[in-house]
């Protein structure tokens, strides 16, 4: 592809996959509830009602970073002592709160009842509640449920749980027809770019999940090819496969190489000639190369560590190593879904230190010993590491910012280059 890759770097040696060290201990990561912060912006007619504790409400407010000016399309039904006393009353209370939400927001098309750690532990059956409430509001509001509890989901897995809950709602793709389904929340601007590329490649119809409105559900069936835009959607992918769809194996669309490989998976499935792919992508690739060259100067030869957090670590490490010339010190990931990472793991350099899970304090010990030039971590750790003289990049920005595709490749590189450039500028 780009000709930027150096032969001694990232050579893929047959099936020699990197070895993975598993760690268990204290984790420092958001739970799946954090996904609501971007999901509610993407699905414009959805409301997310968390059934949880004051902690859940406080987490959502804090993860959003700023309090959003408009009335948000998410809320928490905070459990109180008396709700814990009897589940019957708890269900009655839930019905009351749902009525209150829907009265306030008549514009809502889909209401998600979102399970949390406390609702899981008290075994509040939200699936049953969703069924019961669906009957009450039938024809007006679709009511679905999923669990984003921190007992089961880590950060971006909340999106996986949410999208999985949408799969049974998708209409059946008529037999004999085929379509491409792109899974994962993408900013509208990126979604539109991809839609244009697929049209130029002669691939269609193309649908995206989640949709911007839940009135626009894409069809799903045995003719559906599923392409993952995010690497954390294993459960949703499996649910699509259970309905007959097939999953395309591809790297993730970060950087030039990842985006090209991702599009190629679709062109191969559609029988589009490689030359067409080359012609269609050439202008965007040329732009991306120009943009990347600038940031490569700041990043080349710099050492980077990823703390396990957003689940984007492996594809991003691949991009930064192969296209920006960075050296990977450690790549941590909260969990490793080998099937979804097959293509990516092949692209990682031999001998990379790959860790799954977390034992926070030991990881920080290693980090202090390694002293990489840049550490990708969560918000709670960034300033403490900065004050120890390490440069950091907050991972949450990677899920809030348009970073997929050719035209965002330079923006993605800049997210990592900026802390380094800033550190070089400051004399205070």
């Amino acid at each position: 592809m780009s000709g930027q890759q150096t032969p001694d770097r990232g050579s893929t040696v047959g099936d020699m996959l990197p070895t993975v060290t598993r760690e268990r201990g204290q984790r420092q990561v958001f739970c799946g509830l954090a996904g609501i912060v971007w999901l509610h912006r993407k699905i414009q007619d959805a409301f997310f009602l968390v059934i949880g504790s004051r902690t859940c409400a406080h987490l959502l407010q804090s993860a959003a970073g700023v309090m959003i000016f408009a009335e948000p399309r998410f809320a928490t039904a905070i459990l109180h002592e008396r709700d814990l006393a009897g589940l019957a009353d708890c269900n009655a209370e839930l019905d009351r709160v749902v009525a209150e939400v829907l009265e306030r927001r008549p514009d809502i098309g889909t209401l998600f009842l979102v399970g949390s750690c406390p609702s899981e532990v008290i075994k509040l059956d939200l699936a049953k509640a969703a069924e019961r409430l669906s009957a009450v509001y039938s024809g007006r509001v679709r009511i679905l449920d999923y669990s984003a509890s921190g007992l089961e989901t880590t950060f971006t897995q909340g999106e996986d749980a949410c999208l999985k809950a949408l799969v049974p709602e998708l209409p059946e793709l008529p037999g004999g027809e085929r379509s491409l389904l792109v899974l994962g929340t993408l900013p509208d601007v990126v979604e539109d770019q991809f839609a244009r590329l697929f049209t130029e490649l002669g691939i269609g119809p193309v649908h995206f999940l989640p949709p911007r409105r839940t009135t626009e559900f894409p069809p799903l069936g045995s003719g559906t090819k599923v392409l993952l835009a995010q690497p954390f959607l294993g459960e949703t992918a499996r649910a699509c496969e259970a309905r007959g769809a097939s999953l395309l194996s591809a790297p993730y669309p970060f950087g030039i190489e990842g985006t090209l490989g991702w599009l190629r998976a679709a062109t191969e499935a559609w029988g589009v000639a490689e030359e067409v792919l080359d012609v269609v992508t050439a202008p965007a690739i040329a732009r991306a190369q120009r943009g990347l060259a600038h940031h490569r100067e700041s990043l080349e030869g710099k050492r980077i560590s990823f703390l396990p957090d957003s689940q984007l670590e492996i594809p991003l490490a691949r991009f930064l190593q192969r296209e920006c010339g960075m050296d990977l010190v450690e790549v941590g990931t909260p969990f490793l879904d080998r099937r979804l990472m097959t293509e990516e793991l092949h692209l990682l350099p031999e001998g990379v230190r790959l860790t799954e899970g977390q034992d926070l304090e030991r990881q920080l010990d290693r980090l202090r010993e390694d002293r990489p030039d840049l550490t990708v971590c969560g918000l709670g750790l960034a300033n403490p590491l900065e004050s120890e003289g390490l440069r950091t990049k907050w991972s949450i920005e990677l899920v809030f910012t348009p970073v997929h595709g050719f035209d965002q490749a330079a923006d993605l590189a800049e997210l990592f280059a900026r802390p380094l450039r800033r550190a070089a500028l400051l004399r205070v």
């Binding site: 420092q28 004051r54 039904a77 709700d83 709160v97 939400v101 406390p118 880590t154 750790l381």
Partner: protein, 529 residues
Amino acid sequence: MQLTLWTYEGPPHIGAMRVVASMEGVHLVLHAPQGDTYADLLFTMIERRGTRPPVSYTTFQARELGSDTAELVKNSVGDAFERFKPRVLLVGEACTAELIQDQPGALARGMGLPVPVLSLELPAYARKECWGANETFYQLVRGLLKPRVPEAGRHPEPRPADRRPRANLLGPTALGFRCRDDVEEVTRLLDSVGVDVHVVAPLGATPEDLLRIPEADFNVCLYPETADQTCLWLERMFGQPTVKTVPIGIGATRDFLDEVGRIAGIDVTDAKSPISSRMPWYSRSVDSTYLTGKRVFIFADATHAVAAARMCAEELGFTVVGIGTYAREFARDVRECAKRYGVEPLITDDYLEVEKRAAELQPELMLGTQMERHIAKRLGIPCAVISAPVHVQDFPARYAPQMGFEGANVIFDTWVHPLMMGLEEHLITMFREDFEFHDAATPSHLGSRVGTNRPAGSELQESAESADSPVQADASTIIWAAEAEQELKKIPFFVRGKARRNTERFAAEQGIQTITVETLYDAKAHFGR
């Protein structure tokens, strides 16, 4: 179940974290799932702390439930002790752990660690953050000092004549509103009357400092929301009197000095009008005349709300049109205060109710928390932040206390700046039909791009306009006659929204269907002060 969009307070374990994060040599082990680790960012991002809060989380997962969560607690406690070597270890549980009842405190105490291990009860489904901070501070002080409580009836030794009186400053915490600077200001203030600050806690204190608390002659309950329980206990057990006046505002600062003087047996007269106290003269200065009767709505924690009300009424000549608090534990203080100013108190933690009240009252200034700042922005009302919950902006780089004489100076600036300046207001009123003064005009110094590309930063203007659209609801049946609509446009843009609302309310009350120029001025007379 309570429907909540935004919350004023976190759960009680956040309060516990605020106490331990304020201190040195103390560590908290929280039995909680992984998502609860978000709380670290409150300290490292909002307060820009360069260290992680001294908190370890057990981060139990579904697969551990029921089987080995207890073992996990013991491992976490052991690891935390080994690594951080705290001189006091606190153990608590967050909401989910409370449900699985592992008794982490008892487990930790059974481990025979060579330091005091205190167990916290933080009922997550009944209590909130401020309560949690108050309780944690109390448990810490009580836990450490209980063995040193003198036998009943024994009075503290009188202060030797050659020693300056000593005071402890109790209550300042991490994530509190301007605590860092308040401590400095109150320390200076006490020094000015010859009183030494002995221990400040929890902010910056070690466990050894807490042991020295009884050596002081009295305690200053600087933030009752976090320290009133502790002060009360120290008063009962060690006979240490408490200074209860919170020195926010000129009057309160003087009352505070009087109370200190009474308790310490010293003369404070000379300290009551320092030369650096500019606020009283600024308020008497003729340009401040325009502040007279400005209608203010206050919503905050109880201490800051009550203090703000007094400053508004007595020191700035504002009219308090509404007051409220989210701190139910201190609701009584706010109710009494509301009675004093003849307004209905608003005790709620539902920000939608606060927004509703603000929209009804249409104040000219809102004093509140970060939540009220958002409400005010939406309604186009000037606002200043006076209390937690806090935001990164509430940790200014400069020295900006709220307490003492310098605090009053800071408050004067902070509250008055969002308001339209006196002469400016007159000019706009006089020349409201001036072609450069109309609301869509670009400021003349920005050239002639009239009507297009409104400069960034004209936030007041923007928000005032959004507030200028007709209110829906009840007023929907009321029509504006063309001349009345024209007349309304002559009113300066920043009060136009209020004029429109007041007129429509007046029309609705009077059963008027069509608003004429007459109605407009009748309404003005009706609502005029």
